[in-house]
Point group: C2
Chain length 320, copies 2
DNA sequence: CTTGAAAATAGGAACGTTCCTATTGGCTGG
DNA sequence: CCAGCCAATAGGAACGTTCCTATTTTCAAG
């Protein structure tokens, strides 16, 4: 019955103090290179694996980042998660994912988990109206980055798409096709991106000299629940649809075919779907890279003033 | 400068030993209900949050489950992750997700992370040919459940779909449409599900008195890379396609339209895509529930003999 | 009252690290 | 030849829990 390898067992085997082993494993310059080598060899021989929990408890750093998203099953989020995980892993941070179901209560719970698990940082795409969840992190002194959605007051680093411009591009595209009564499917819950996309929609209508009709704006869950019901409830006729995101658009398409649609997020780029629908896209890889860079920078220096980055968007036409 | 609330600060405030506080917080019957109440009140007052890391270090149980999957961005996996997370959270287990990119090396690394983080259990959809990664868990005495893919020797609890039957159903469907030269896009890497689906394909061809043509079976990455190249390399003519999964099928469809296709996994059920393609489905909710139940049972009693569950599959026709 | 056991609480070690403060040995300079 | 210093190592406390083993209190029975 071989007992688990710890710095203690290594220390005993090499004939040196635990402290020396600890330092050697950290590749500290304080320990002689000969001893260092012997320690490393013995560690390898015993199949030593550092106990990250003990390390975290003592050092206060867990080498862990929490990712808080509304819907892991949304391919855009899934891709962001994938990219963020990879990048953070490169920097020796393990990632754990918290799915909030776009529910503010669950978001709060997620933050509690993040603080309990002593996350070194958090990336969140918030579904809260208020800053309650963020305050929780603030009190625990955990650096936080907002991804994809933001708040009016810039209190943390933020990376968002140019949602308003996206809304304009999408709507102009439909106007260009001759649509005059464009239905806008927006997301419930006072999400910044939804608000901005809608403003862009209104901008474009204004440019074209068209009035905004409340009857042509419908709110549904960002998860895509209740789309068909919402469509049935539309009494005014319409000749085109601009949806908050591709998931909503697709769901609507199966109900209202043969109308021009524009979506958002360009999910097709992540998951190759044989559906040809124009959508608004941004560079997700660049977005993830930027997010990681910013969060790591903040973790290194909490005094930096928060930065806000807006990524350019483009309309991807139906062809591809 | 209010210092962090710990059982020690609570103990001091209530005027009782740390031990008593610890027990009270665990709702132990050893501590008098009066004291218990006073402790809980003080804990709430101080905004106490248990340090899960310290708890894990001391108790050996981290209240954590690792989910190891090949591709988080695949909607089927994403949905399984979502369901598993929810269910485990109900039982007070936090989940962390490890994406292996269908790469055996990364799978091994993921297992190392799981052991380092002292996961109480692991759910894995393995991409390894060998049992190396599983041995790692075995040595660390971490219960493990195989989900979606399996090995010949039943050493751990297993939940899989009836892949072979799925292959038969899919192929029979194409045969029923009059196809006689069916291309099969299978997954590289000796994955059990791919093997079984292919066997089913061969079964069905046999039933119809058709020979298996090697030229009509093409291997591609399970991630869907290189599908178009693989299609271009097919020299034999074909009149229908059965793909290892929907992602591959969709990707192929954009290259080879106007042929009957059958996919696998019925992703459309998770993410509402306006693409009408027959696919093989199983009850994902039941699958997740079963997986959770089995893993929890094993965590409670490691001596139980391993169980193997095969979920029935059905063909979902194009209409829906 | 005293006794004994059960109920309630206390005290300290332990989990595996890291951090802080010694202690040792060897070497240089005057 | 010794003060002084630097490099290398050692020792022990600490992180916040839980676990194991005492100790005290309570209270019914004799």
């Amino acid at each position: 019955m071989p007992q688990r390898a710890t710095i203690k067992t290594i220390a005993k085997a090499v004939g040196v103090a635990v402290n020396t082993v600890s330092l050697a494993l950290q590749d500290s310059s304080l320990v002689a290179s000969g001893t260092k080598q012997r320690v490393l060899e013995e560690a390898a021989r015993q199949g030593y694996q550092r106990d990250v929990l003990a390390q975290a408890l003592r050092s206060g750093r867990s080498h862990t980042i929490a990712l808080v998203f509304g819907d892991v099953a949304n391919p855009l989020f899934a891709m962001k998660i994938k990219l963020l995980s990879q990048a953070f892993r490169m920097h020796d941070y393990q990632v754990f994912i918290l799915d909030t179901d776009e529910n503010p209560q669950q978001e709060l719970a997620a933050m509690r988990v993040a603080t309990q698990r002593k996350a070194d940082g958090v990336v969140v795409c918030p579904c809260q109206q208020g800053r309650e969840a963020l305050e929780l992190l603030h009190r625990a002194q955990i650096p936080c980055l907002l991804l994809g959605r933001e708040f009016d007051t810039l209190a943390e680093d933020t990376v968002v798409w140019d949602d308003r411009e996206g809304g304009r591009l999408a709507t102009r595209h439909l106007l260009g096709l001759g649509c005059r009564r464009i239905l806008h499917l927006t997301a419930r819950g006072d999400i910044s991106s939804a608000r901005q996309r809608r403003l862009g929609y209104e901008d474009a209508l204004g440019e074209a000299g068209l009035a905004v009709e409340e009857g042509l704006i419908r709110e549904v869950s960002p998860l895509g629940e209740g789309v068909t019901e919402a469509l049935q409830a539309v009494t005014t006729p319409f000749d085109g649809v601009f949806a908050f995101n591709d998931l909503l658009a697709w769901q609507a398409m199966s109900r209202v075919p043969d109308l021009p649609f524009v979506g958002f997020d360009h999910i097709r780029a992540q998951i190759c779907v044989p559906v040809s629908m124009p959508s608004i896209a941004a560079d997700v890889r660049a977005e993830a890279a930027l997010a990681v860079e910013l969060l790591l920078a903040r973790m290194a220096d909490s005094q930096r003033p928060p930065e806000r980055h807006v990524l350019p968007v483009r309309l991807v036409e139906a062809g591809k």
